[in-house]
């Protein structure tokens, strides 16, 4: 709905022609909303700050979110919030307008501010629109109905993992449908148990090439081969995600703790009952292994 409203507003204000609006609305259906547009929309960053980060991206091989945090334009919590809403299709038109160069970031910032003042009245209404985006991709693809009430834990974990894969490893990652976990020999399996009021096995299985790319991306180190540093890098990525999961659970009143990460080579997973969820990356594939109980 927001896309249609903002489109109509732009037309009424003669900021865009009808033909241009049709063009961007068609494009908006497939566009991925980038963090810069989201950040401007919610007021976390100004257009000037977004432009500065884009300039830095041209010389530094770092993701938008990481650079924005390093520059002090975003906090980690704000970045997490933006990533949570990155599948928000409501901002697709804004992204399309910028991509098609019908608006600059500065113009977008001005339009959104003006639109909200003219159309949204109360602050609560503005916030409702801003939080309309949910992790739709995961909910559409995954089916944990067989897990009953525990399905919610799987869903929450995958959503958190997916956000951090997008943040640190690959913004174009795609979730596949979950399957029951099988007895498969994994070239590499990094796993860690989360224990406490609920017990969750978490594992990331991958081949040599994928492990090395993940290690390089997460650590930012030059890693010529799979050595202790490369393995520890992937283990630390899983550890970081699981730590956030524990903190989120603690904030909801559930106390959890982490056990040591382990990384095994050419072995069958110790998980006998649970799910395997494929995640396709631009450079390889991970099988996420999850099991409760």
């Amino acid at each position: 709905m927001f896309n249609q409203y903002i489109g109509q507003y732009l037309l009424n204000k003669n900021k865009i022609t009808a033909d241009q609006l049709v063009e961007v609305m068609n494009y908006a259906r497939s566009v991925r909303v980038k963090l810069g547009v989201l950040a401007i929309n919610v007021g976390f960053m100004t257009a000037e700050q977004v432009e500065k980060v884009h300039q830095l991206q041209r010389v530094k091989d770092q993701r938008f979110g990481e650079l924005a945090v390093d520059q002090g334009f975003l906090t980690n919590a704000q970045l997490e919030s933006l990533l949570e809403n990155q599948n928000c299709i409501e901002m697709g038109l804004s992204q399309a307008l910028v991509d098609k160069k019908y608006l600059t970031f500065a113009q977008l910032e001005e339009i959104l501010a003006s639109y909200k003042v003219n159309h949204e009245g109360s602050k609560e209404q503005v916030q409702d629109i801003d939080t309309m985006g949910v992790d739709q991709a995961g909910k559409l693809v995954l089916d944990f109905a067989a897990a009953g009430e525990q399905g919610k834990i799987y869903q929450e974990y995958i959503a958190l993992l997916q956000r951090n894969i997008m943040r640190f490893l690959d913004s174009d990652s795609l979730l596949g449908r979950n399957e029951p976990v099988g007895e498969v020999v994994h070239q590499w399996l990094v796993h860690q148990n989360i224990e406490g009021e609920t017990n969750l096995f978490t594992g990331l299985a991958m081949d040599d090439a994928t492990l090395l790319v993940i290690a390089r991306k997460y650590s930012g180190e030059i890693l010529p081969e799979i050595d202790e540093l490369a393995k520890d890098s992937v283990a630390e990525f899983l550890n970081m995600v699981n730590g956030i999961f524990c903190v989120n659970a603690s904030n909801q009143g559930m106390e959890l703790d982490l056990q040591l990460q382990k990384i095994v080579h050419n072995q069958i997973s110790p998980l006998k009952k649970g799910y395997s969820i494929p995640v396709t990356l631009s450079f390889g594939k991970i099988q996420v292994l999850l099991g409760l109980g």
Binding site: V69, D70, G72, N76, S219, E221, E228, L229, D232, S233, A235, E236, N239, M240, N242, G243, I244, C246, V247, A249, S250, N251, E255, L256, D257, L258, Q259, L260
Partner: protein
């Protein structure tokens, strides 16, 4: 007048964390020593008497909270900052109870580490 470098002991079972933290602290002109678990860190602490310890929690042999407690028993004014992915309220409370100076949740930022080092340096001058 030659100023002594700030001596920092880092304890984490992850070689990635040890390397990156050491690189960062070295750029801040600190002298860095490493330990890989909660048992080793206590022995190294007694040996080198660092100005500051960065301590992970989940580690083999002895965990970071136990190591913190042991270090603080040995030296009551030891400065220990927990650097862990498990930033739950339970862990935070336990860490503060055992005398941790601060608790930083991973992934840490350069600013967080710099602030701690600056605070320690200033307290040395005072």
């Amino acid at each position: 007048m030659i100023t002594e470098k700030t001596k920092i002991l880092i304890c984490d079972d992850s070689s990635l964390i040890r390397k990156q933290l050491k690189d960062l602290l070295t750029k801040m002109d600190c002298e860095v020593v490493e330990a890989v678990n909660g048992q080793q860190v206590v022995n190294v602490f007694k040996e080198i008497q660092p100005d500051l310890v960065f301590m992970d929690i989940v580690m083999p042999e002895v965990d970071g909270l136990e190591a913190l407690r042991n270090i603080r028993e040995y030296k009551q004014d030891a400065k220990v900052v927990m650097l862990s992915s498990v930033g739950t309220s339970t862990k935070l409370i336990q860490a503060l109870k055992y005398g941790a100076m601060d608790f930083i949740q991973k992934p840490y930022t350069t600013e967080q580490v710099l602030k701690v080092v600056t605070d320690v340096r200033q307290s040395k001058l005072a």
